[in-house]
Structure formats: C-alpha cells, structure tokens
C-alpha cells in the first residue's frame, strides 16, 4: 500500500517536471531467480500529447528492449519493436499478452518488493526526445501478473 502511494507520487512528480508529460501507472517488474537473465516490466502509459516510446534503460539490465508478444495459431512469438506509438490522452497498457519492456542481461536477481529504476525514452511528434525516470516495484516470481502490493479488494484481472 505504502509502496503504491510512493510509486504514484513518483509518477506525479516526474510528470509535473517535464513539459510534455506521460503518466505512468501501476508499473511492475516480474521477479526473477538467481542466474535468470531476462524478465519484463509492465505499466500503463498515458501521454498528454502524441508520443512514441523509443527506448528504455535500467541499471539492473545490460540490454533493454521494447517487445511485443503475439500468439499466432497457439505459437508465442516475442519480437523487439522499434517503438510504441502513444496517442494523446489515450492509455496504452504494457501487460502480459501484449507489450513489455524487456530487461535482458540482468546483473542481479530481482526479489519481490525491490524497486527497479527504469528510464523511459520518448519522442514527441517533432522527434524531440524526452525521458522519464520511474521506479517499478518487483512482483515476486510466482506472485501473479499484477503490480505488488495489491490494494485489498482491488481486482487486477481484466
């Protein structure tokens, strides 16, 4: 609960400082076990103007990519995409079964409750880049497909 409020505050402060704003909500990273080298970060992004998520960086990962997961005839395919277009005022959800920020070449195991700093790099319509620093809490591996901690009584299944 406390972490949720802090995460919320962080998102609010970050957006208040930047001129072109992207609201980041319910960011979370899937936890890993030792020697696991890759995982995903998920979140909801709502930009104030048309924007494009073009890159991301994190001190916990050697390589960060933007990925799309598609199921085609029951085969899961995961691909890096060059960017993710965000429409002004519309919420784009990065969630299991769709898009995620892929954290690869992990430098450490990510345990439930830890915070992962991620810098999101966006481009506006004029191709001007701007960044947003977030801290995404880790949901322990096996802790389900939702940000942690969950609000009591809050349904994260969509």
């Amino acid at each position: 609960m406390k972490q949720l409020i802090i995460a919320g505050l962080l998102a609010v402060t970050a957006t208040a400082w930047s001129q072109t704003t992207v609201k980041v909500e319910d960011a979370w990273v899937r936890g890993t076990v030792a020697t696991q080298k890759a995982t995903g970060a998920f979140m909801r992004l709502t930009p104030s103007v048309n924007a494009r998520l073009v890159d991301a960086k994190s001190p916990v990962a050697g390589v960060v990519e933007i990925h799309e997961m598609v199921l085609e005839k029951d085969i899961m395919r995961m691909r890096q995409i060059p960017g993710l277009d965000l429409a002004a005022g519309r919420t784009m959800e990065l969630k299991p079964g769709g898009y995620h920020v892929m954290l690869m070449d992990l430098k450490q195991a990510l345990k439930g409750g830890e915070q992962v700093p991620i810098t999101l790099v966006f481009e506006d319509d004029a191709k001007k880049r701007f960044t947003l620093d977030i801290k995404a809490p880790v949901t322990a591996l096996g802790g389900g497909n939702a940000p942690m901690p969950m609000k009591p009584g809050m349904d994260h299944k969509h």
Binding site: R30, G31, V33, A34, T35, Q36, K37, A38, T39, G40, V63, E65, H67, M69, L71, K73, D74, I75, M76, R77, M78, R79, Q80, P96, G97, H100, M102, L103, M104, D105, A140, L141, G142, G144, N145
Partner: protein, 211 residues
C-alpha cells in the same frame, strides 16, 4: 418495408451463414482441433482423446532423474513447453497452473504439473529447480539434449525456434497445455487464452475418471 417472407428468408440466410462459418472455424487447419468427439466434448479445452500423437516423453528432471509418463500413473499430468528467460507467457502459464493447484484443494495431490524446457542450452537443472519452486513446490521441470528436446516437441506437434534479439536470443514456442488422464492417456489440449477456471474444470473432469 420488407415482407414477412423476405424477412424469414434473410433470417434463414443469416442462420445458414452462421452455421457455415461456425463449421469453418471448427474445421480450421490447426492440428490440435482434430478431436474425435467434436462438439460433444465434456472439456473446456480441445478433446484429443485417441490422438495418434502426444503419447509420452522420456527426459531428465532437474534432479538428474530420467522421467517418463509411466512414472506419474494414477495422477493427472499437465504438460507445458516453455523457457525460463520468458517474461510473459511461461510465467503466466505457471501462475495459472499454481492457481489450478489452489482451486483443486486436497485433490491437487493428484495433479502433476510438468514444464519441458525448449531452451536446454540456458535452462540449467539448477535454474529450472529454482524457477519451478517459485510457483509451486510440486512442479517438475524436464530437460534433455537438443535431440531429445526436438524429439519430444515433434511428438507433441510443438513448434519451437530460437530467434536472435540484440546480443541474445528468445524462443518462439507453442503455448498449449496438454492433459493426460490417470492412465497416462493424452486427453485434452488447453489454449493459453483460457482461464484457470477452465483448466481446473478439465483437470477435475479427468480426476473424476478411474485410475
């Protein structure tokens, strides 16, 4: 304004169209939809009872022990192919399997969840053991040589492929779950889009059948 007869005729056309398109959907080219019982299946998943594939496996578990389907006779087995460095479908499938265990209550003791890695190169026994334990203490993971992995995937008509990304690689793979009954016969294939409730219902249906 259309006459009543035109109305009826167009309604009939719509009905015919719906039936025809439904049939087309059911007879799609997916190899897993060729179940023998078609629309009368008691399962939420695809009934493949009597299929001439998915007959079994022989691989090594994360403790180094050779495992085949025979080892689990008397239990219902849920088998899934995946890989650990997978941020999305594999943990989602394993979380769902853990939900199924919870929904089953005491009956969970009669369900064996097995994860077969399609990435034996990176998924070491130690990594697999730790990864499975994060979801449920009873979950087992199997691995094998490149040849044994390919042979097993072929037996289940499972597709997998290494795809380079950046300096690393990811795996495309079939994201279906296979259910065997207590006698070790292949019975049901469940899709990734299906819910834990669907999975639990099919496991329960199989548990209700005699060992």
């Amino acid at each position: 304004m259309p006459s009543i007869s035109t109305f009826i005729s167009s309604r009939r056309q719509v009905l015919v169209w719906l039936v025809a398109s439904g049939t087309l959907l059911l007879s799609g080219c997916d190899p897993h939809t060729s179940g023998l019982y078609g629309g009368n299946s008691p399962f939420k998943g695809i009934d493949i009872t009597g299929a001439d594939y998915a007959s079994g496996f022989q691989l090594t578990d994360f403790n180094g022990q050779t495992r085949s389907l025979n080892d689990f006779k008397g239990k219902v087995v849920m088998l899934y192919f995946g890989f650990v460095q997978c941020p999305d479908v594999c943990p989602t499938a394993l979380s769902r399997a853990a939900d199924v265990m919870q929904q089953l209550g005491p009956q969970a003791a009669d369900l064996q969840v097995i994860f077969v890695t399609v990435d034996p190169e990176r998924d070491t026994p130690e990594l697999l053991r730790e990864y499975m334990a994060a979801f449920h203490p009873s979950f087992l993971a199997l691995t094998g040589s490149a040849e044994a992995t390919q042979r097993t995937a072929d037996e289940f008509r499972v597709h997998y492929k290494k795809v380079p990304t950046g300096s690393s690689y990811t795996m495309d793979h079939t994201a279906l779950s296979y259910l065997f009954d207590r006698q070790g016969r292949i019975r049901v294939v469940l899709r990734h889009e299906q819910t834990a409730d669907d999975y639990t219902a099919d496991v329960r249906a199989l548990l209700a059948q005699p060992a």
